[in-house]
């Protein structure tokens, strides 16, 4: 799909998050890892959020994790979601420890619960944008 036909919000990456979005395009879920203490985190920064080290790198997550918490949108806040309410927005805790916000999909809305196991699926939204989403294992 061309971006012009895509009705939902298109993310505007900050300079530090380009590797995440490039990774998603290649269907890899990129997070940051600290070479000093082994901590993984998200969203991106230029220092380790665990120990403050600058010796950090981007690594691919296994994409497996669990739903730390979630909400169900019943009200429409953006016209791009017309016809898709109710939908689930979750905070996913990856097995490496980093947490990220995404949609929980491929499950009836009422069946989502905290701590359920999920894994990443890559949704190619446009030619330029791929969104990592999560479905039950």
């Amino acid at each position: 799909m061309m971006s012009d036909d895509y009705a939902k919000a298109i993310p505007v990456p900050g300079p530090e998050s380009v590797p995440f979005w490039e990774g998603a395009k290649n269907h890899r879920l990129m997070i940051q890892n600290c070479n000093t203490c082994g901590h993984h985190w998200f969203p991106p920064s230029t220092v380790c959020t665990g120990c403050g080290s600058r010796d950090i790198e981007w690594v691919a997550s296994s994409g497996k994790g669990k739903v730390f918490s979630f909400v169900v949108f019943h009200r429409l806040y953006h016209k791009g979601w017309e016809g898709e309410v109710p939908y689930v927005v979750g905070i996913i805790e990856l097995e490496e420890g980093a947490r990220m916000l995404s949609n929980v999909i491929d499950i009836p809305v009422g069946d989502v619960i905290c701590d359920m196991s999920v894994e990443v699926v890559f949704e190619d939204a446009t030619d330029e944008l791929t969104l990592p989403k999560f479905k039950p294992v």
């Binding site: 939902k8 730390f68 949108f73 019943h74 898709e84 939908y87 949609n103």
Partner: protein
């Protein structure tokens, strides 16, 4: 580990409080509403703008150096002035900062206030109305949110509510008890926006917005402003009102993020409260009433736990016990709060906290024998908390 300065205890006082018209106030800017509230607060204190040398305020967050805009409109030069940007925690923090500024010799009489024209903004155009926000989207993140359909403070707080329900078995009916309790107070407050009684049936029938929150879990969209005047307790003796002393204050900011650790179920109120209690030399059992920042029902419940009015995880049972009523163990949000009076981001909580100790109300609203109260502010993308403990002289 920090040690709050107990020498500040009782040294500074709130000597006047005021608010503007509340609710739908079309045709008046946030600045205009704040002027209204500030002048009302000065009149309450028996002071004029000429005696003010400190200005701490907040308005719509996209207005650059808001205190300068207000100073120009009020004709005030200030030895100390600033705009705060801790969201809903700013207003309580403004009072704390005023006391600190006076203590440091930077000012002697400080006006603290907040004004918003949120109802007018949300209803100004379709885009704002759909997003339910008067703020430009650019003020929120442009990635890791909107592309997943994640909008608004309601969802952020909803994550916390959901996790609390999961960890402690908290129920929607228990959230509802909070809405019902505050609505009862609003019915005794002629300035409150909400005028009709609310039953549990009404609460449960309210349309779902962002689950687990329905319509009656959400604070109101309102125009309005509030303000207070802070000066030394020494100077307060010559002023019009019975002074309300700042016994203690504290702040706690889980700015590593709401999604981090267990921050969404163990909030900044834990640190902020601990600090405020230590400065004031009191404990939770000494508090006669609480004015708690209530953007959403869940935030009341979790703050009541975090301030030590009940154990962690027992907030649901606590609010369902009638604790929040005027004759309960912790009368809370006695003006109706942001859920039923008006949402002025915690500033009306400060105003009500002061008025309870001025003792101006009749028996339908006055907390009997109130001597010490706690006021909370919460916001700044859900992780900033400020606490004020007020007392009679």
């Amino acid at each position: 580990m920090i040690e709050p300065s107990t020498h500040l205890r009782d040294k500074y006082a709130l000597v006047g409080a005021g608010h503007s018209r509340l609710g739908k106030v079309p045709g008046v800017s946030a600045q205009g509403l704040l002027e209204e509230a500030m002048l009302n607060a000065l009149v309450d204190a028996g002071l004029t703008t000429q005696e003010v040398d400190g200005l701490i305020c907040r308005g719509p967050d996209e207005i650059y150096t808001f205190h300068q805009v207000m100073g120009e409109r009020l004709g005030i030069d200030a030895s100390f002035s600033t705009t705060l940007t801790n969201g809903g925690a700013s207003q309580v923090m403004g009072v704390a900062l005023a006391a600190m500024a006076i203590d440091a010799g930077m000012a002697s009489c400080v006006l603290v206030g907040y004004g918003r024209d949120n109802w007018s903004r949300v209803h100004a155009n379709k885009e704002n109305h759909m997003r339910g926000s008067g703020r430009p989207q650019q003020m929120y993140g442009m990635e890791f949110g909107p592309e997943f359909g994640y909008y608004g403070a309601i969802a952020a707080h909803g994550f916390g509510a959901q996790r609390h329900m999961h960890d402690y078995g908290t129920t929607r009916e228990q959230f509802g008890e909070i809405s019902l309790a505050f609505r009862k107070y609003a019915l005794n407050n002629p300035d409150a926006v909400m005028k009709k009684p609310l039953t549990m049936e009404d609460y449960l029938a309210g349309r779902m917005i962002v689950e687990p929150f329905g319509l009656f879990d959400c604070s109101l969209q309102t125009d309005g402003a509030g303000a207070v005047v802070v000066t030394s307790t020494e100077r307060a003796k010559d002023l019009r009102q019975k002074p309300v002393l700042v016994k203690g204050f504290g702040t706690g900011n889980n700015i590593s993020g709401w999604f981090n650790d267990d921050n969404m179920t163990h909030t900044g109120a834990i640190q902020a409260g601990k600090t405020a209690y230590a400065m004031a030399g009191v404990s939770p059992s000494d508090i006669d009433y609480a004015q708690i920042y209530d953007c959403f029902t869940y935030m009341v419940l979790v703050q009541l736990e975090d301030y030590g009015f009940c154990q962690k995880g027992e907030g649901g049972a606590f609010v369902a016990s009638g604790a929040l009523d005027l004759n309960g163990v912790m009368p809370t949000n006695t003006s109706g709060g942001q859920l039923s009076e008006a949402h002025v981001e915690g500033m009306l909580q400060v105003v009500e906290g002061v008025r309870q100790l001025q003792g101006i109300y009749g028996p339908e609203r006055q907390v009997p024998n109130a001597e010490i109260g706690l006021v909370s502010g919460h916001g700044g993308n859900t992780v900033c908390e400020s606490t004020l403990i007020l007392g009679t002289a």
